[in-house]
């Protein structure tokens, strides 16, 4: 009976909206009645921002197969532009966020067009270089505070904004991947030469994925800036990009649900090990090395966790019992 509802396309959409509304109201209720205190809210915020970062980087690294190490740079562009719009120019938060996203996407375009001609490790280093150049440039602009950054950013990011951000990011990227554009993007990852022969313009699809990934990194940056009160260029150095990379690799290159699960895991792990930053980084390092040696495809490989699979596991268990 329930399966029939899920089988129906509109029913499925309705069910998804119901589940999302439930999650949203559930957390909102806990925040309102004070079960989730300040500390919990910070973790929830980091969690949502990390999910946006991981899912968007996964589009570039996982689905398109282009190793980018400059994600923190786009996050920085989004953060700075949105703060300039809201704090310095007095625009509403939504305008600031969208402006930040568009600026990050533009940066992604400017950087992507020349660098995406490069392959593999060259591309990785070039994106790393661009990410660092963005940081150095920000350090040298007095208008945005130079190395000291901007302090006293109004706190506008709420659970509602975060939730909307996560849902929009995942929905956009999932729908993109399931469209004909998505199939072209995946074919570029699988075999560039073969897809070129099939008439796919590989550079334009790479740039498309790169720009969309940068757009959502900008969203994460805007949300971050308007929650944590202060931004400075140092926050967005390449270690931040590596952070996101660990999530994507752990979750499985090319699995959105994997990226979400890994982002959640890494966020909670960081929160638990907050007092021991060195140990946290050592664990990250070991995760990377051991994963690459023993399970290079990550937790999920390129599979997705879905209601159907869960249902299968569930009914399988019932049969066994």
């Amino acid at each position: 009976m329930i399966m029939n509802v899920f089988a129906n396309r509109w029913g499925k959409l309705g069910a998804e909206i119901l589940i999302l509304a439930f999650i949203f109201l559930f957390v909102q209720y806990f925040i309102t009645v004070g079960v989730f205190n300040q500390y919990h809210q910070i973790i929830i915020t980091s969690l949502c921002i990390n999910i946006i970062l991981a899912v968007s980087l996964n589009l570039i690294n996982g689905f398109t197969g282009q190793l980018s190490l400059g994600h923190a740079g786009f996050m920085a562009v989004g953060a700075y532009v949105s703060v300039v719009l809201t704090k310095f120019m007095g625009m509403p938060f939504l305008v600031g966020l969208v402006g930040g996203c568009l600026a990050a996407a533009a940066a992604g375009f400017v950087i992507g067009v020349p660098t995406l001609r490069l392959k593999g490790d060259y591309l990785a280093i070039a994106t790393l270089g661009f990410g660092e150049i963005i940081r150095v440039i920000l350090q040298n602009i007095e208008y945005v505070g130079g190395p000291a950054g901007i302090v006293g950013i109004p706190k506008m990011t709420t659970w509602g904004w975060l939730f909307a951000g996560v849902v929009i990011t995942i929905a956009t990227i999932q729908n993109l991947i399931n469209s004909s554009y998505g199939r072209a993007i995946i074919s570029v990852r699988e075999d560039e030469i073969a897809s070129e022969v099939m008439g796919i313009n590989i550079t334009s699809y790479k740039v498309l994925a790169f720009v969309i990934g940068a757009f959502f990194a900008g969203l994460a940056g805007g949300l971050y800036a308007h929650y944590f009160y202060i931004i400075k260029p140092e926050t967005f150095n390449f270690l931040k990009s590596f952070d996101v990379l660990v999530m994507v690799v752990l979750g499985g290159l090319g699995s959105t649900t994997g990226a979400v699960i890994a982002a959640a895991f890494i966020t909670l792990l960081s929160a638990a090990l907050q007092a021991f930053p060195a140990i946290r980084m050592i664990i990250y390092a070991l995760i990377l090395i051991l994963l690459m040696i023993y399970r290079p495809q990550g937790l999920m490989g390129n599979k997705e966790l879905s209601v159907k699979i869960l249902g299968k596991i569930w009914s399988g268990k019932n049969d066994a019992a």
């Binding site: 070039a126 140990i279 390092a285 990377l288």
Partner: protein, 293 residues
């Protein structure tokens, strides 16, 4: 004009350091096509070994450098055997991610055991003296770095060109499978390459300690990245290219901080990298090879 000459002379010792680190990158890349991200951190470990050798054992700087080179040669071989060898047949992205993991591991293990604070070489490790030559001032620090770097490069060149091991290294980097058929022990050759590259990095680490006088656990990141740029600039996988690239980068960087804005110094390297990748990705000495289907 005199000032320009002075800046170039200043850049030479920095360039020599970059060149030494770049050699390790280039040798490893030449032989297993891996960007060894952890190379800068091996250099950092070398600097620490040198530091403890000077401050705890009371050796002079040359002995400290030899200790550091031996320790890092061993470290390089261990890294290769534990982390990179199982991935020799894996994708290059997987190997690159592993290298990033090794890099983070070395940095934060050092922070965990030795605290993140920076350490200063003890007073009198290297009594600095300035000489003036035709209006250009040179310190004995710079002369020491320059001469020992050149000496190491000459030794390396000799090993690669004139010994059996060097011949094996060149053969493996040319064609690994053919080298196996010729009876070359590829595993040992790769280990030797890592040992030599890491020893050069360790020497560079001690030199950076002398140059800046301070060391810290994250000191390897930026010089490591810049040396990589130097290797790409000269043509990655080509040994003379790494030397030339290192000197060019060191001099350019000194010129930018001398004449322009020193805050942009770190952007120079990446700017050069992107330019070179766009104009001639194979580097100054590289040959263009077509893509085979």
């Amino acid at each position: 004009m005199l000032e320009l000459m002075q800046q170039i002379v200043n850049g030479l010792s920095l360039g020599a350091i970059y060149a030494l680190i770049a050699l390790g990158y280039t040798m490893v890349y030449g032989i297993i096509k891996l960007i060894n991200f952890a190379h800068g951190d091996v250099m950092m470990v070398g600097a620490y070994v040198g530091f403890f050798s000077v401050s705890m054992l009371g050796t002079n700087i040359v002995v400290a450098m030899i200790f550091a080179m031996l320790a890092c040669a061993l470290l390089g071989v261990i890294i290769e055997k534990v982390a990179y060898k199982p991935l020799r047949r894996a994708t290059r992205i997987a190997a690159l991610i592993t290298a990033i993991g090794v890099s983070l591991f070395l940095e934060y293990t050092t922070i965990f055991f030795l605290t993140p604070q920076q350490r200063i070489f003890p007073q009198g490790t290297f009594p600095v003296q300035d000489y003036s030559l035709a209006g250009i001032s040179v310190s004995n620090k710079d002369i020491f770095i320059f001469i020992s770097a050149i000496l190491l490069m000459v030794i390396l060149q000799f090993i690669v060109k004139n010994t059996k091991t060097g011949k094996a290294m060149r053969a493996v980097s040319e064609d690994k499978d053919a080298a196996v058929l010729m009876g070359i022990n590829v595993d040992n050759t790769i280990s030797v390459t890592f040992a030599i590259g890491s020893a050069l990095a360790a020497a560079a680490g001690v030199m950076i300690g002398v140059y800046y006088n301070t060391i810290n656990p994250l000191m390897g990141i930026l010089p490591g990245l810049k040396a990589f740029v130097a290797a790409v600039l000269g043509g990655i996988g080509i040994i003379p290219g790494a030397m030339v690239g290192g000197f060019i980068l060191g001099i350019l960087e000194t010129l930018v901080s001398g004449y322009g804005n020193s805050l942009y110094r770190d952007a120079v390297a990446f700017g050069i990298l992107i330019l070179i990748l766009l104009i001639k990705p194979t580097g100054i000495f590289g040959k263009n090879t077509g893509e085979k289907v």
